[in-house]
Each structure stands twice: as structure tokens, then as C-alpha cells.
């Protein structure tokens, strides 16, 4: 076997947890009395769910939100005992472990409501805590309007039987445009009225995610669900983090581990080889369209392969040498390429850039 030199972790995603806490506390003040749920699904948008969850609580988050139960269990296993809501389930999910772990369950239909009731009987403790999810236009999960009356009646029956408590009613915005969003809010209010007529008393009505929390105060209701903003990134096409008073939490850094003769020998003497590739989640579509920061200045990313990328200097007289540090993205206020720049270069959104960062890239936490 041939043994190569070099340490294993030339690449690291540095997560600034104090930035997460500050971003969250900014949303706490913006929310103007509404509670803040920080969404840590998809491994905390690639930042690390457990670490972000702790920082979020420190920043004032009252709730944590996840998609599926496996993600909720990960938080409980890390002894995070804050309220957690999980909202994406199989139609006949077994909720026993979720109820046992004190996880609030987002319920979209009668079958799930029934599964919750049966699981609660198996657990035998106090009532299970559910949030009923209404589809107000997004076309994904959530109950459709014609089914609301049945869902509310059955939920009330199970409440009276002591099996569950409807703690919340919620929906998810399409962020199509302001008038569509307003229509969704109107539908949610209609649903809440119908729920009250059925005898339910949901304390937490929630609809807004980061975008609506920032720009549409009437959407804030009792609780806002903040995802991308907690990580310091903007949900909008037309503005960066700083304009929103947010600080990007992730910096992606690597090292030039080898140099090769440049393909553009007139200009740059060498290309640098950086051990991060599309297998780590770096989008190859950005090749030739994105600059990163080297020790001696700006570098153009010329190729992105499975497990490495290639950089070349863009200023005459600058060269790359083995051992140079390369910052792929970070806080643009610090002079680094922004996650937003990568998103533009790869024709996608900042969410996908950070969320896709693979498990083989080490995470390092600072506070």
C-alpha cells in the first residue's frame, strides 16, 4: 500500500455559534412578543443540529423545529429538553417513542391523529401534544380545507378522552407574492375559527418562516419558525445578510495540498489543488464562475471534481503554494466570498449550498 503524507482534515467548516445566538436573539426582538422556533432540520442546515440547537436556545429560542422524528430523537439523545416540533411523518407512523420523548407532533390528517391517540394509549402518560397542520395553499402536507371540520371534531373528541392536546395550529407559506401570502393567512385564520368552533383552544398559531418574520408582521401570530435566518443567511434574492442585521455562521476553509503546472501558463505559474469536491457538496456548476480567498489574494476556482477542486491566481505575480489556506466562503463583511455568491454561481439558493455540505467535512465550533 502506498502511504501518502498529509493530515486527514485539511478541510473544515467553522461554525460561529455566537453568531447563531446573536441571529436568533435578533429574531426574538423582531418577533415582537411572538415565540421563536429555530428550525434545525437537515443537520441544522448542514451546520450541526445539536450544536445549533444549544446556541439557538441561548439566543432566546423557545422552540426547536425538525422535519422527521429521527431528527427530533437526535436532539433528545443530546439531552436537549426544549420543546421540539416534528412535522413530516409516514401516514401510519408509530408515535410511541416520540410521545415518550415529549416531542410535539405535527399532524396533517385523520390517520396520523389516530396513530397519535393509539401511541398515547400505549405510553399511558399525560396527553400527547399535537399541532394540526393545515394546507393553506402550498400543496404539500397539511389538511385540505374540506377536511378541516372532520379533523377538528376528531381532535376535540380525543382531547376530551384525555389522549391528546391540540397545542398549535400551523401552516407554511409559499412565499409566492404578498397577495398569495395574505390569502394563505386569511385561510389559516378561517381554519383557526373553525377549530375554535369545534372546541379546540390552540395556544400557538404559526405560519411565518424567516422571510415573513422579517417583512410581514401580521404573519407572526404566536410563534415564528426561523430557519435560514438563524444561520445568518438571507431568504431574499435582493439582499445579503448584513442588510438584515444577520451574520453568516459558517466559514468553509481548506488547504492547498498539491500544486500542478497551470493550464494558463502565461499568467499563473501554478494551479492549487484543494481537497474539497462535489462529493463534499461543492457544486461543480460554479466552476469558472466563483472566486475564493487564498493567502496571497483572490483565486479563481477553475474545476470542481469528485473530491477536489482546482484554483488559480487572478492577479499577475501571485502564485499558489502548497500549504496555503483557502477560504471558500465566510462572512462577506470579513472580505470573504459569501454563500450567496456560491448560490448565484451555481444557479441555486444559499440554503442548498450549506445544507449539502457533506459529513466528511469536519465541523469546528467557535463561540
Amino acid at each position: 500500500m502506498t502511504v501518502a503524507d498529509g493530515a486527514a482534515s485539511e478541510s473544515v467548516a467553522i461554525i460561529d455559534l455566537s453568531a447563531v445566538a446573536r441571529n436568533v436573539s435578533r429574531f426574538v426582538s423582531l418577533a415582537d412578543g411572538a415565540q421563536v422556533m429555530v428550525v434545525v432540520k437537515a443537520n441544522g442546515y448542514g451546520h450541526g443540529a445539536v450544536e445549533v440547537a444549544r446556541a439557538a436556545i441561548e439566543g432566546g429560542a423557545a422552540w426547536l423545529g425538525v422535519a422527521d422524528l429521527a431528527e427530533a430523537f437526535e436532539l433528545r439523545d443530546a439531552r436537549i429538553d426544549a420543546p421540539v416540533l416534528a412535522w413530516l411523518h409516514e401516514s401510519h407512523e408509530n408515535f410511541t417513542a416520540a410521545i415518550d420523548a415529549g416531542i410535539d407532533i405535527g399532524v396533517s390528517d385523520l390517520a396520523q391523529l389516530d396513530s397519535v391517540a393509539r401511541a398515547q394509549q400505549a405510553v399511558g402518560d399525560g396527553p400527547a401534544s399535537v399541532h394540526l397542520k393545515l394546507d393553506t395553499g402550498l400543496g404539500r402536507n397539511g389538511a385540505d380545507e374540506p377536511n378541516w371540520v372532520h379533523l377538528f371534531a376528531e381532535a376535540r373528541r380525543l382531547e376530551l378522552a384525555g389522549l391528546l392536546r391540540v397545542r398549535g395550529i400551523f401552516s407554511h407559506l409559499a412565499n409566492a407574492d404578498d397577495s398569495e401570502d395574505a390569502r394563505q393567512l386569511e385561510r389559516l385564520h378561517r381554519g383557526i375559527e373553525a377549530a375554535r368552533r369545534a372546541g379546540l383552544q390552540p395556544q400557538l398559531r404559526h405560519l411565518a418562516s424567516t422571510a415573513a418574520t422579517l417583512r410581514l408582521p401580521p404573519m407572526r401570530l404566536d410563534l415564528v419558525r426561523v430557519g435560514i435566518g438563524a444561520y445568518g443567511l438571507s431568504p431574499f434574492d435582493d439582499g445579503g445578510s448584513a442588510e438584515l442585521g444577520l451574520q453568516p455562521a459558517m466559514t468553509l476553509r481548506s488547504t492547498v495540498v498539491a500544486v500542478a503546472p497551470s493550464s494558463d501558463a502565461d499568467f499563473a505559474a501554478h494551479s492549487g489543488i484543494v481537497p474539497l469536491g462535489y462529493g463534499d457538496g461543492i457544486p461543480p456548476q460554479a466552476a469558472g464562475r466563483i472566486h475564493v480567498t487564498g493567502d496571497a489574494g483572490s483565486l479563481l476556482v477553475t474545476r470542481i471534481e469528485s473530491d477536489h477542486l482546482v484554483v488559480e491566481p487572478v492577479s499577475p505575480g501571485v502564485d499558489v503554494v502548497r500549504g496555503d489556506t483557502v477560504t471558500l466562503f465566510g462572512d462577506p463583511e470579513g472580505g470573504f466570498t459569501a454563500v450567496d455568491d456560491w448560490a448565484r454561481a451555481a444557479d441555486t439558493i444559499n440554503y442548498e449550498i450549506v445544507t449539502r455540505l457533506g459529513g466528511r467535512v469536519a465541523r469546528e465550533y467557535t463561540s
Binding site: 422535519a67 402536507n141 473530491d307 449539502r356
Partner: protein, 253 residues
């Protein structure tokens, strides 16, 4: 661990039998040099160690990996094969390798896979829910899709966090029961919506994002074509929220 898994039944099934046959086929054709298998990017998302073992047993001579950590993982699993890290070797002497043929594909978008090799990975998840909606119903963020007629929408818990490229919005497809349906509306972080028309699709039915292409499902090459990418990227980007399940007809070691 608290409770049961409940990762929503997402799965990447890795067919080691197919992989062994691919490697054996390439080994039989390799003339005048060692057969180098590219095992970078966690064996293109298939899982380094199980694939390294299968490759070593099926006629590969050299495995190409990124770094010492990869080489150590193979050594610690007691897999006896020559492993090369490109930190020292790759750019001095590029290995005359087989691209990603061992995983069933050609290297570039325009390359066909060598004759006889078949795709190894199949990514699927159960349909979580279905809903009948009228004409003009918006779907997913921004309502970039509205139903052209009354139809049935099926929700599948695979999104870009799981590795489906968001760029496949408007072109990606999945198969349910051997029939392909379009993904409609924006591909989201955790989920996509299929427009299944009037088909009898029910919760629990498996939706296949890609596989070998022999049961009506798309292949990773189809996804690559839809996103100006490569099959290698589509395979390598399948995320850690999708558990790998290894299929092997041989006795468990």
C-alpha cells in the same frame, strides 16, 4: 438512542452483486495495465469500505482514494489491495482508470457507460401522503407550478438536503409502480411533490428517484442530463439522511 429510527423510510440500496459484476467485467477487459477503480467521494456515495472490499474481491488492482484517512479505513477493514492517495500520486501520474464504470456510468455527461455495466445504487422513499386537488392549485414555493387540471399530488420525503439537485426543479422525475411522474413545483429541502394524474398511488407506495433503469425508473444519468451535471455528482451527493442498505447474495461475512 431514543426510540425508533423514523427517518421516513428513505433508502439508498446498493447492489453489491451488480458492483462485483461490473468490476469483473472491467477486469476482464483491462489489458496492458492494472485496473484502477476510483473510490473517491466515499466511493461516489456508495460507501467506501463495503465497495472497496467488493472491488478487491472482484479483480480490481488498485483503488484510488483522496487521502490517508480513506486509505486507513480500507486498511483497518483488512482489505488487501493497493491503495493510492492522490495527494502524492494523482497529479504526477494520473491513473489510467475506468472512470465510474464500476458504478454503472460513464464519466462525463456525454459518455455512455461501457457495455455491460449496470448502475449499482437505487434511491427511494415511500409516498407520505396523496391529495386530490382542483385545476390551478399552486405547488411548493413560489407557485412556479400550478396544476393544469384536477389531479392527484403525491408527497415524497426526499429533497435537496438528501442530495436531489434543486436544479432539477421542472425536469426531475420519479417512478411509482414502474411509471414515471414529474416532480412539480420547486424541489424543497426535505420533500418533493409528484403530479401522478389519475393514477392510483397510495401512501406507502415506494417512489424511486433513480436506479438501474430496468423497472421504469430514471437513472442517475437522467438526473445528470436534467441538471447539466454528471452521474458521478448525482450519486456522490446523496446525503447522510438516506441510509445505505447493502444487497449481497453471498453469505454475510
Amino acid at each position: 438512542m431514543t426510540g425508533t429510527d423514523s427517518g421516513l423510510g428513505r433508502e439508498a440500496a446498493v447492489d453489491l452483486v451488480a458492483f462485483r459484476l461490473n468490476v469483473a467485467l472491467l477486469a476482464a477487459r483491462a489489458v496492458g495495465g492494472p485496473l484502477v477503480i476510483d473510490m473517491t467521494a466515499d466511493a461516489y456515495g456508495h460507501g467506501l469500505v463495503p465497495l472497496a472490499r467488493a472491488a478487491a474481491e472482484s479483480g480490481a488492482d488498485i483503488l484510488s482514494v483522496r487521502d490517508q484517512a480513506d486509505a486507513d479505513a480500507i486498511a483497518e477493514a483488512h482489505i488487501g489491495i493497493d491503495v493510492r492517495c492522490w495527494h502524492t500520486r494523482r497529479f504526477a501520474v494520473p491513473p489510467a482508470g475506468s472512470g465510474i464504470a464500476a458504478f454503472g456510468f460513464g464519466m462525463e455527461l456525454t459518455d455512455g457507460a461501457p457495455e455491460g455495466v449496470v448502475p449499482v445504487m437505487r434511491v427511494s422513499a415511500p409516498v407520505l401522503s396523496v391529495k386530490r386537488v382542483p385545476e390551478g392549485h399552486g405547488v411548493s414555493y413560489g407557485f412556479v407550478y400550478r396544476t393544469p387540471r384536477e389531479t392527484t399530488l403525491a408527497l415524497v420525503p426526499l429533497g435537496y438536503a438528501d442530495g436531489l439537485p434543486r436544479a432539477a426543479t421542472g425536469s426531475g422525475r420519479m417512478a411509482v409502480g414502474g411509471t414515471q411522474y414529474p416532480i412539480v413545483g420547486r424541489i424543497a429541502m426535505d420533500q418533493v411533490v409528484l403530479d401522478v394524474g389519475d393514477a392510483q398511488v397510495a401512501p406507502g407506495d415506494r417512489a424511486v428517484a433513480f436506479g438501474a433503469g430496468v423497472d421504469g425508473e430514471p437513472t442517475a444519468a437522467d438526473w445528470a442530463e436534467a441538471t447539466r451535471s454528471t452521474a458521478g455528482e448525482i450519486l456522490a451527493r446523496i446525503g447522510r439522511r438516506v441510509p445505505r442498505r447493502y444487497i449481497d447474495r453471498e453469505v454475510n461475512r
